[in-house]
């Protein structure tokens, strides 16, 4: 069932703002906690809890950062939100600022979206003219402004601590945690980093209430979710659906036929084969990263694997051993496979052991998930190799 909570057109800044400012910051945090909203970037951390940590953290300044660095292969939902639903994002950021006590917002935009920069700046100016941003927003005594910072071509900067490093003008190398950004983030100040889609949910929840929001989705995966659907289907695009939808339902909706496999959650996500198609996409099922790539039966999964592994090898930041060296070795292995070499059982076991080591010992999510497609695709589509 397609929904239109997030993708509804038109600017209705007034209503959500009016409602938001009638609450205290604590009340807003409680509402978001009650809503069960979980981060839409992939990891699914409870948003209300993140805000609460930041609200309680001591800091003379605080920041709200919108992570618009969607770089996961197959993801483009944020592009649609940024172009069509910017009003929701602006409200979401400002309300987050109000809730945690931050007067500064930063939109961290991937460099591949630089083409929308002028438009975004123009719209932000408009919001400012309408007093939805700037000093004393709508006369409510709260100041909030947003500036845009651009990535410059580094997927790893979607990782929140790498993103902070990048915003500080450094190499986008993930930091050690703790401290977490909510304690010490941008320039050492408490910082909430939320995905574009997460923030766009905020005005909806405040406007329509927790109960209405919870009508969609499952018990542990509340609300609707945007899916970026591409690959072998008749109607690729961004779809808003309930969390908990089955893969088969989704494939029908987008006009996919003769489907062999579905990649859910991007290169670092997981691969569903035909026997998985009745499973659901939600935090308790196939993790809903937002990227859905469909492969029909004419596709060779070895090529898909090679594409993903090359991607990680190019995008590893190079800081920690397992990821830097591990992605290099995985690439070597898939290239050997492509050349028609057959990996010996011994080699295969070494690579699987390597995959386990990367998952267990890499510093950040990139390295921890980079070997997923190797294990998953090789496991499920052995006949393609």
């Amino acid at each position: 069932m397609q929904r239109s909570c997030l993708l509804s057109p038109g600017c209705k800044c007034n209503e959500a703002f009016e409602k938001a400012f009638s609450y205290t910051p604590e009340e807003i945090i409680n509402i978001i906690k009650d809503s069960g909203l979980r981060g839409r970037g992939g990891a699914g951390f409870p948003t209300g809890m993140k805000w609460e940590f930041a609200a309680k953290a001591a800091g003379e300044k605080k920041y709200v950062v919108c992570n618009a660095d969607e770089g996961e292969p197959g993801t483009f939902k944020d592009r649609v939100l940024l172009t069509d639903s910017l009003d929701k994002l602006v409200q979401g950021m400002a309300i987050a600022g109000y809730a945690i006590g931050a007067n500064y917002g930063i939109l961290y935009l991937r460099s591949e979206y630089k083409w929308m920069l002028n438009d975004l700046n123009a719209k932000f100016n408009e919001f400012k003219n309408q007093n939805y941003l700037g000093n004393n927003i709508m006369g409510k005594g709260f100041d909030f402004d947003i500036e845009i910072k651009l990535n410059a071509g580094a997927y790893v900067c979607g990782e929140e601590t790498a993103l902070i490093e990048s915003m500080e003008g450094k190499r986008g190398e993930p930091r050690n945690k703790p401290p977490f950004p909510v304690q010490s983030g941008y320039m050492g100040y408490p910082t909430v980093i939320n995905n574009v889609e997460t923030l766009c949910n905020i005005p909806y929840i405040l406007e329509h209430g927790v109960a209405e929001f919870k009508k969609y989705g499952t018990e542990r995966s509340c609300g609707t979710k945007l899916f970026s659907i591409s690959g072998d289907c008749a109607k690729p695009g961004v779809y808003e659906m309930d969390l908990g939808i089955t893969i088969r339902e989704m494939l029908e909706m987008v006009g996919a036929s003769n489907t062999k496999a579905v990649q859910i959650g991007g290169a670092s996500g997981s691969t569903a084969g035909e026997k998985d198609f009745d499973k659901t996409i939600c935090f308790e099922g196939f993790p809903p990263g937002g990227s859905i790539i469909i492969f029909n039966k004419s596709r060779n999964m070895a090529r898909v694997l090679k594409n993903f592994i090359h991607f990680f090898e190019e995008e590893s930041c190079g800081q920690c051993t397992p990821c830097r060296e591990g992605t290099r070795r995985l690439k070597e292995a898939v290239d050997r496979i492509e050349r028609g070499e057959k990996l010996s059982d011994e080699d295969m076991n070494t690579m699987l052991e390597l995959a386990e080591v990367m998952k267990n010992s890499s510093k950040c999510g990139l390295g921890q998930t980079a070997a997923n497609p190797f294990v998953d695709i090789l496991g499920k589509f052995r006949e393609d190799f």
Partner: protein, 597 residues
């Protein structure tokens, strides 16, 4: 009391409970309790980077392994350091590093003293399942005293950290991304096109042979083996306090006499001691300071104060690059190494009746910047290259081993006369604060006619390992010629490591410093922590070396530079007077401003 109780945590490691301190990491707790966790990127002098992932451990309740160097302990944390998963992970990490580590152990300077080699042995790595790359991708950069071989680099980044965190220079950085990351300079330039000061601290932190000193042993052997050459060697004060470490002796053992014996057995024609010119430096530099003070206080003329010491060549390089406007404050004295070099090919040559062109002057220094210093165009005042070759402590140890000498079995012998005679004041040049202490011992006595008012001549306020130390001494009842100093409070400061020097220099530049004299040593701990010293280094090791140096001073008959009889003779026979014409010709110099970035 409440907080004291709260800050103590109970943590379990491998099934045994330990008292942990709030805020400490798993690694720190384990180390304190003698539980060995292997590390590569971790170093006692540096911030935790968590890059190598060797130190991962299992923590109950965590999805993945945790890097023990960056994970703080928590109440009731349950940690396992020796599970199958942990061992397998560490083995794999070593294999991954070895696969990209190109170079033969047998021809590596760090053979038998390499952390990667040790770990590979410890974890029983018998093969590298990914294959071992044999193809060299990088040219070994031997253009400067710091030799870089990136094929051996494992990207732990300790070198870039020490350069930034301790020295504030940032001469090398990680460049590129991912598998293309390497450590280097902008656009692949050599170090001498950056602000590198050649302190060599990166070498001392490198776990492998990726960073080493430019070797001079071949040239020195060649000179020794050449019967037409008269080879003279001088050894810096910090060598004797650390050389034994190269022979597997724990830090803190003094081997002054054994070293002198070894040098003679190696075949040096004359074995001198840089301590001699350390004493000479005190006379020259002390005179210079008093002259500046007199100019400022009596003649009220414009004179650059505070005066800075000029013994540390890393510091000289640093001030030239970063504080060129403060160069007038720098003492014009050459370093003891260079004073020595200039005297060997003049005073000594005359005295000995040797043609200076046949003299090869070798120094043994705890320092890589000394190699750079000896090559400076300013250092030819004898009419020849004053110091021909500079060996580090490590290179000397290699020569001793190559000569088949068992250092620790040797009988003590004395340095040769006359430039082997020295005082305790010279020995302490090897430790941070030592030049200052030596200067005060002499200057105070010169001015007042009395010994410094400190028990046993130990000027404790200027000693220690605090990064910046300050002290003051009020002059009372001076001799008539120094009456202008009566009641003056002489203020001094000491800094070691260049980030600390920077803090002092910023104060001086801003006009906020009221000091008269500042001692700066580029390396942490002073020369005893120099970039040419035995590897590894750590605060504890440097502390031990410092103790050795102060013990040596305490055991000396002469403790004050101006009491050095050979220096007195040098003035009588050759130099005539401190800061005189001859001194200026041979022992003083001037440095040049350089570009900061």
């Amino acid at each position: 009391m409440q907080t004291a109780v709260e800050s103590k945590l109970t943590v379990s490691i491998n099934g045994k409970e330990f008292d942990a301190r709030k805020g400490e990491t798993i690694l720190q707790l384990a180390k304190r309790n003698d539980i060995n966790i292997p590390t590569l990127c971790n170093h006692a002098d540096l911030c935790e980077s968590g890059n190598c992932r060797m130190c991962v451990v299992e923590v109950e309740g965590q999805r993945v392994l945790q890097a023990s160097c960056t994970t703080p302990v928590a109440e009731r944390m349950v940690i396992r350091t020796n599970t199958r998963k942990v061992r397998k992970t560490r083995q794999m990490i070593i294999e991954l590093l070895l696969a990209e580590h190109v170079g033969d152990c047998q021809t590596c300077k760090r053979n038998t003293n390499c952390e990667l080699q040790d770990l590979a042995a410890e974890y029983g790595i018998e093969e590298v399942r990914f294959g071992k790359s044999q193809e060299k991708r990088y040219e070994v950069d031997t253009r400067t005293p710091i030799v870089r071989d990136n094929d051996k680099c494992i990207l732990c980044r300790r070198c870039t950290q020490v350069c930034e965190e301790i020295q504030g220079v940032e001469a090398i950085k990680p460049m590129g991304r991912g598998k293309d990351t390497d450590i280097g300079c902008l656009f692949g330039l050599p170090l001498d096109e950056t602000t590198c000061v050649f302190c060599g601290q990166c070498i001392n932190r490198c776990p492998t042979g990726a960073l080493t000193e430019r070797d001079a042993t071949k040239e020195v052997w060649k000179a020794i083996d050449d019967p037409t050459k008269h080879v003279v060697v001088q050894t810096a004060p910090a060598i004797r306090a650390a050389l034994a470490e190269e022979f597997d002796i724990p830090p803190g053992e003094r081997v002054t006499g054994k070293m002198a014996s070894a040098l003679k057995m190696i075949g040096f024609d004359t074995v001198f001691d840089t301590d001699f010119t350390a004493d000479l430096t005190i006379i020259e530099e002390g005179t210079e300071l008093l002259t500046r003070l007199k100019k400022a206080l009596v003649e009220k003329s414009q004179v650059a104060l505070p005066m800075f010491t000029s013994c540390s060549p890393g510091w000289i390089n640093y001030i030239e690059h970063y504080y060129p406007d403060l160069l007038p404050n720098l003492s014009t004295c050459k370093s003891p190494q260079q004073m020595f070099g200039a005297l060997i090919k003049t005073y000594y040559a005359q005295k000995k009746g040797v043609d200076p062109k046949n003299i090869v002057s070798v120094s043994v220094m705890p320092c890589t910047a000394k190699k750079f210093e000896a090559d400076r165009p300013e250092m030819y005042d004898s009419g020849y290259k004053d110091v021909d070759h500079v060996l580090t402590t490590r290179e000397l140890a290699r020569m001793i081993k190559q000569a088949g000498i068992d250092l620790m079995d040797l009988q003590d012998s004395e340095f040769d006369d006359p430039m082997g005679i020295s005082t305790g004041a010279a020995v302490i040049f090897g430790a941070t604060g030592g030049v200052m202490e030596a200067a005060i011992r002499t200057a105070y006595e010169l001015v007042t006619g009395r010994e410094v008012p400190f028990a046993n001549l130990d000027i404790r306020p200027v000693r220690g390992m605090e990064g910046i130390r300050e002290a003051s001494l009020t002059i009372t009842d001076p001799l008539p010629e120094w009456s202008f100093l009566n009641g003056a409070e002489v203020k001094v400061a000491i800094a070691h490591s260049l980030t600390k020097a920077r803090m002092l220099m910023d104060k001086v530049r801003a006009g906020e410093a009221t000091y008269h004299f500042i001692e700066v040593m580029a390396c942490p701990g002073g020369c005893l922590g120099g970039g040419g010293q035995p590897i590894p280094t750590s605060p504890e090791i440097r502390e031990k070396r410092a103790q050795a140096i102060y013990t040596e001073d305490g055991a000396m008959k002469l403790r004050k530079s101006h009491e050095n009889p050979a220096v007195k003779v040098l003035y009588e026979e050759f130099l005539k007077e401190p800061n005189g014409h001859k001194s200026h010709e041979l022992l003083h110099t001037k440095y040049t401003p350089k570009d900061t970035w």
